[in-house]
C-alpha cells in the first residue's frame, strides 16, 4: 500500500468506528482524538481493526505514533508497504 491508500484505509476504519465522524475540517497534523472527539476506547478500536485486517501488532508503547493522521501514515507505511 502506498501512503494515499493507507490514509484511505485509516479514514475508512475511523468512519466505521464512528458514524458521526466528519473529516471535512480534519487537519492531518493535529491529534485525531481531539478533532474527532474520540475516547481512548475508540482509539483502541483503530488498533484492533489494524490487527484484524492486516495482522499488524501495535505495541502499547507505540500508540503515540498514531496520534495524528500523518503520524499514522508515517508509522504504518513501512509496515504495510508490501501488502
Amino acid at each position: 500500500m502506498n501512503r494515499e491508500e493507507i490514509r484511505e484505509v485509516l479514514l475508512e476504519i475511523i468512519a466505521d468506528i464512528d458514524e458521526e465522524a466528519d473529516f471535512t475540517a480534519l487537519d492531518a497534523d493535529k491529534p485525531l482524538r481531539d478533532q474527532l472527539e474520540l475516547d481512548s476506547m475508540d482509539f483502541l478500536d483503530i488498533v484492533m481493526e489494524l490487527r484484524k485486517r492486516y495482522k499488524l501488532q501495535v505495541p502499547e508503547d507505540e500508540y503515540p505514533e498514531l496520534a495524528t493522521l500523518n503520524s499514522c501514515v508515517n508509522y504504518l507505511e513501512p509496515k504495510l508497504r508490501d501488502l
Partner: protein
Amino acid sequence: MSDYQLIIIGAGLSGLAAGIRAARFGRKTLIVDQHYRPGGLNSYYKFQGHLLETGLHAITNFAPPERKRAPLNLLFRQLQLSRREFPVREQIGSEIIYPCASLRFSNDPELLQAEVEQTFPGCGERLYQLRQAVAAQDPFAELPWQSARSFVAGYLKEPPLENMLFLPLMLYGNAEEDDMALSQFTIMFRAIFEEGLFRPETDISVFLDMLVRQYQSFGGTIRYRAAVDEILIGGGSAQGVRLADGSVITADAVLSTAGLPETIRLSAPSGWQTPPAAYSGKMSFTETISILPDISRDAVRQDRTLIFYNTSEHFQYRRPQSLQDSSWGVICFPDNFAGSGSGEFFSIRVTNPASYPHWHALSSEAYAAAKTACRKEAVQASEQHIGSYGQAIVQQDSFTPLTIERFTRKAEGAVYGSPIKIADGRTPWTNLFIAGTDQGYLGIVGSMLSGISIVNRHLLA
C-alpha cells in the same frame, strides 16, 4: 484446545455487550444463560397478554447522537451499532417529593438548578458549585472509598436538600446502606441529573433483539436454558464451566456477570474459598406493576415520568425491618415519555425497599398472601402522590427480592449487587473475570460499559 476462547456467564446487558466486543474482534465466544430469554435484570415477560418489562423504569445517561463524548454514544460506537437508528423517547419530567418540599427535574439540568434556587433560597450557587465539582471528578480512578454524603454536605450545607437529591441517586444505583461511594455518586449524579432519562421507543425486547443480532452477526454463540452449575478451576486457572445437565465446556477465559457472591459460589467446589457474605448487598426491592384501562388515565397524574417520594424528612437508605417499606420509593409511569401514544392500557409501577430475609422466611402460602398485601400497601402509598387508581386496576403483578434472586442469581435479590466493587474485574484466577453490577458501573448504560471495558482491558488488549 478449548471449545471456546471465551465463555460469558449471563446474557444480561453486561454479558451481551461483552460478547459483542469479543466476537467483533474474532474471539470464539459462547454466552450461556439459565433463562430462555436474554436481558437478565432487564428482561421482559408476557403477562395476561401484556408485554411487561422486568426491571426497566427509564434508561439513564440520555445524550443526543451529536454529543460524542457522552457514555451512551461511546457505548453505541463500541458495539458498532448506529445511535441514529435507535429511536428513543425522553422523559417528560420527574419529581422528588418530600413532606415539606418538592423538586422537579428533567433532561435539562437547568430545571433542577432553578427549582433548587426557588425552593431553597441561597442554595442555587452551592448546587452550581457541587455540579462543577462533580463534573471535575474522575469516577473511574481506582481510589479508596470516599463518602458521598460528606462530599455533598460540604457543598450544600442544607440537609433537607441533600436528602432530596440522594433519594433518586441511591434508589437507582446504590448497593451500600446509608452512604454511597463518591465515585458511584458521581456516576449517578451525571447519569440522572446532568444527562437524564429516556427509554427505547418501543420496549426493552427490541433493544435486546438488536444486541443479540449484533453478537450473532459477529459469529458469537448464545445458549439459553443453560444454567452454569460450576466454574471449573484447575492448575490455578479457570478451565471452563459445567452446566446443570452435566456437560462440560472448556474455555481459555471465563467472564462472569452473575455477581460476585454467585461467582464465588460457582467456583467454590474447585477452590475459591472467600466467604461470599461480605459481597452480598442488602438493598433489594419489591415492585408492584398495575395495568389500567386508558379511560382511567385522568384519575392520576399524567405530567410526570417518575415520582420519587419520601414521607419523612429524613432519608435512611437501608434494608427495612419488615417485608416492605412503603414510606419511600419511586412511582414510574412507563407511558409518560415524550411522544408515547396512548394505547388501550397504561401501567404504573411502584418500587419500594424490601427485606430479603423477611421474604425468605415465609412459607409458600404466606408468601403469596404477603405479596398481595404488599401490592395493596404499595398502591395506597403511591395514591397519596398521584391520585386514586386502585379501583381501576385490571391486572396486577409484582416481584420481590426472591423473584429477583431466582431469575437473575443476584444473591439476596440485591439488584445493585455487592457494596464492595471490583473495579478491575479481576479474581484470584488470572483468566476468570467479573463484569456487570459488581464491577462497579450500574444501570443499563453502565453495566454495558462494564462488560465492554473488562473485555477491552483483559481479553482484547
